[in-house]
C-alpha cells in the first residue's frame, strides 16, 4: 500500500512512508546513501520533490516521522507547536510555501511565523529550494540575541574564536586567543574545546579565559565546551560560567548517545541564568549540531539526515540560545562526501535554523579524507556571510591542532569584514576601535602597533 504517490511524465512513483518520501526528495549526499534511504535515481529524486511540493504543510502535524510515543523530541515539537502563528501558511502546500517565502514574506512575518513551523516543514521546503533560494529567504530573517555582546544585527558578522590546544596548555591557548583578537575575532564567544573533558580541566581553562577577558576588559563571553553536566557542577562550584555548551541531535536516542536530555538542558539554563553574568541580554546557551549524528549513533528511524538536523533545532530553540552552529563538514565523507555536499548542507542548516527562529551560525569545515579543500570553504563562508549568518568559527591558520580538522582562519573573518563591509558586534567593535585594531569602517588597520601592544602586555 503506497501512502504517497504521484506520476511524472507517465511514470508512477510511490513511497510507503512520509520519511521515505522526504529522504528520496533530499538533494544527494553520501549519508543518506549509507543509510540506504536516498533516491535510487536522479529522476526518482525529482519525482519525490514533485509529490512533496503538492503535500499540504498540515501533513507534518499529522503524519509524524518519528513516533510521538517513543521520542521526546517529537513530543517537544508537537506539544510546543503554535497554531496561531501557523495560521498564515496553514492552507499552503510545501510548494506554495516555497513561493511565498521567496516572494511576499517579510522580515516581520517570518519572525512571527517561526513558532508555527515544525522542523519537518522547514526541512521539506528546503528540499525544493536551490542554494540561491536558501540565501534569498535567509537574508530576510532577523534573529537578535545578546549576552555581553549583541549578535545578529544588520551589517554585522559575529565570530567564535576557537583557540584549542592538544594538551589544554594554558599558555598555548592564550597565545591563540591573543592572535585571534588581533584579527578582531571573538565577538560571539571565545570558546575552547578541551582535549580532556573533565571538570578540573574545564575549570582551569575557564579561569584563564575569565582572567584574560577581565584584564583587557573585552566585551564578549567565554565558554569551555564541556559536557552539560560538567557545566552544571562547575556553576555549583562557583566557576565563572558565561555560556553553557552542549551538542544536541534530532532524536531522543541520538541525544541519549550524547548523554543529554531535555531536562538537563533546562536545568543547565536555569543554573547559568542564576549567575546573572550577562550585561546586554540573557541568552546563556551555546549549542552545536551537525547532519549525520543520528545515523552515526544508529538512532535515525529511517529519516534523512537533513530532516533530523532540523529536528535538533527544536531542541535548541527550547532553551533560547545565544548561538547555535552546525559543524557542517566535521563528520566525514561518509555523510557529506565533497565540497558540493558540504556547501549545500551548510546553506540548508543555516536556512532551517533561521526559519525556526534560531541564532544560526556555522563551523565551515572539512576533514582530510573529504573531497574538499579551503577553496570550498571560501565559497561557503562567503555565501553564509551574504546570507546574514549569525556567526562563523575561526581557528589559527584554519588548522585545529586538537580536533584535527580544518575550519576557517582568523584571516577569513577579516576577509569577510574587509571585503564586504561587515562589522563585529557593536560592543566588541567599540573595543576593537579603542584598541586600535580596526578602523571606523571595521577594517583591520595595517601596521602592527595595536597587536604589539596587546601582545606585549600579555606576558605569554
Amino acid at each position: 500500500m503506497a501512502h504517497y504517490r504521484g506520476s511524472l511524465h507517465g511514470e508512477t512513483y510511490h513511497f510507503d512512508t512520509l520519511a521515505a518520501l522526504m529522504a528520496a526528495a533530499t538533494p544527494a549526499r553520501s549519508g543518506d546513501a549509507l543509510a540506504g534511504i536516498a533516491a535510487r535515481t536522479d529522476v526518482e529524486r525529482v519525482a519525490a520533490q514533485h509529490i512533496l511540493a503538492d503535500l499540504p504543510l498540515k501533513v507534518f502535524l499529522q503524519d509524524l516521522l518519528v513516533p510521538y510515543e517513543t521520542d521526546d523530541v517529537t513530543r517537544l515539537i508537537i506539544d510546543s507547536h503554535d497554531t496561531t502563528a501557523f495560521a498564515p501558511v496553514s492552507h499552503m502546500t510545501v510548494g506554495q510555501f516555497r513561493e511565498w517565502l521567496l516572494s511576499t514574506a517579510t522580515t516581520a512575518e517570518l519572525a512571527a511565523l517561526a513558532p508555527g513551523l515544525t522542523p519537518e516543514m522547514a526541512a521539506a521546503v528546503s528540499k525544493l529550494m536551490r542554494n540561491r533560494d536558501l540565501i534569498t529567504v535567509t537574508r530576510k530573517i532577523r534573529v537578535t540575541t545578546a549576552f555581553r555582546t549583541t549578535l545578529g544585527l544588520p551589517g554585522r558578522l559575529g565570530s567564535r574564536l576557537q583557540p584549542n590546544h592538544p594538551a589544554d596548555d594554558l599558555a598555548g591557548i592564550a597565545a591563540s586567543t591573543l592572535d585571534g583578537l588581533t584579527y578582531g575575532v571573538g565577538d560571539a564567544v571565545i570558546g575552547i574545546n578541551p582535549a580532556t573533558d573533565n571538570i578540573p580541566t574545564a575549570s582551569a581553562l575557564l579561569e584563564m579565559l575569565e582572567e584574560l577577558r577581565v584584564k583587557y576588559d573585552i566585551p564578549t563571553q567565554t565558554c569551555v565546551l564541556t559536557h552539560v553536566t560538567n557545566s552544571i557542577e562547575m556553576i555549583e562550584q562557583g566557576a565563572p560560567v558565561d555560556l553553557v555548551f552542549q551538542s544536541v541531535a534530532g532524536t531522543q536516542a541520538a541525544n541519549e548517545g550524547f548523554g543529554v536530555t531535555l531536562d538537563m538542558l533546562n536545568e543547565a539554563r536555569s543554573a547559568a541564568l542564576s549567575l546573572g553574568r550577562g550585561s546586554k541580554g540573557n541568552n546563556v546557551m551555546y549549542l552545536e549540531t551537525g547532519q549525520g549524528s543520528a545515523l552515526s549513533s544508529d538512532a535515525h528511524h529511517g529519516v534523512d539526515q537533513q530532516t533530523l538536523e532540523a529536528r535538533a533545532y527544536a531542541v535548541c530553540r527550547a532553551v533560547d540560545p545565544l548561538i547555535v552552529n552546525t559543524v557542517v563538514g566535521f563528520i566525514g565523507p561518509e555523510y557529506l562526501y565533497d565540497g558540493k555536499e558540504i556547501i549545500r548542507a551548510g546553506l540548508e542548516d543555516h536556512f532551517c535554523g533561521k526559519l525556526l527562529g534560531l541564532p544560526m551560525g556555522c563551523d565551515v569545515c572539512y576533514t582530510n579524507h573529504a573531497e574538499a579543500d579551503q577553496n570550498d570553504m571560501d565559497v561557503l563562508m562567503t555565501l553564509l556571510a551574504d546570507a546574514g549568518t549569525h556567526f562563523l568559527i575561526a581557528v589559527p591558520g584554519a588548522d585545529d591542532i586538537m580536533l584535527n580538522y580544518q575550519s576557517l582562519s582568523f584571516h577569513d573573518i577579516a576577509y569577510l569584514r574587509n571585503s564586504f563591509g561587515y562589522k563585529a558586534a557593536p560592543e566588541f567593535e567599540t573595543w576593537l576601535e579603542k584598541m586600535g585594531i580596526v578602523s571606523q569602517t571595521g577594517a583591520l588597520i595595517d601596521g602592527a602597533d595595536a597587536s604589539m601592544k596587546l601582545l606585549e602586555a600579555a606576558h605569554v
Binding site: G172, A175, N368, Q374
Partner: protein, 251 residues
Amino acid sequence: MSDVTRDAKSDPWARLRAATPARVGLGRAGAALPTSAGLEFQFAHARARDAVHSSVDWAGVAAGLAPLDLIHVHSAAPDRPTYLRRPDLGRQLADRDWPELVLDDAPDVVFVIGDGLSADAVTHHAASVVQACLPLLASLKIGPVVLAAQARVAIGDDIASRLGARLVVTLIGERPGLTVADSLGAYLTFAPKPGIKDSARNCISNIHGQGGLSYEHAAAKISWLVKEALVLGLTGTGLKENADLKSIGSS
C-alpha cells in the same frame, strides 16, 4: 641564548609561536595569508590527502615482516572512493577472498594490518611495530599476519574468527592531520567475531615518529594489554591501562 628566546624579546609574535604548535603569528597580506604561509598550509593538506589516497607499499610491508607467514586479503570496498563512502564495506571481506588453509592449532594472537585512512602510516610503521611486539609475546602462539587492503578496524574481527584466534591486534592508518599524516593506531579485541561492539576494544593511538609513541613503547603497551586480556578474558572498557605500564614502557 637560543634563537627562540632572543626572538621572543624583540618580537612578540615569536613568543606566541613558541607557546603553541598552532598556526599563530602568520602575518597577513591585506586580510590574506602571506604567500609562504599559504603554500605551507597547502603542502600540509596535500601530504594529508596523499596519505589518504595513495596505496600501501604492501611488498615493502611484507619484506619487513619476514619470516612470518602472510595472508593477503581485500575488503568488500573495491576502491578508495567507495571505501570513503561506505565504511560498512571496509569492515567486511570481499566475497570469496579467503584462502583455503589449515592451521595446525588455533593461534592466541593474530595481527591484522589494514590501510585505514593513512597508507603512509602502514607503509612506514606497521611492520616495525609487529616486529617489536614479537619478542615480548614469545610465550604465545602468533598466527599468520593478515594484510588487508581498503580495510576498517572491524575487518579484523571476521579475519581473526576465521583463524580461530583468541585475540586480534589490528594495526591501521589513522585519519591524517595537517601536522602528522602517518599516525598508526592499534586496536585489540578479545574473542573477535563479526558485529562485536567498538566498546569491546582497547585502542593505542598516535604511533608515529613526530613526537608520537615509539615502536618500542607501542609494543610494550600492546603486549601488556594482550597478556592482561588473555588472563582476564576481555578487552574494552573492562580492561584499563594499568599504572605498571609506565615502568614497562620506559624499560
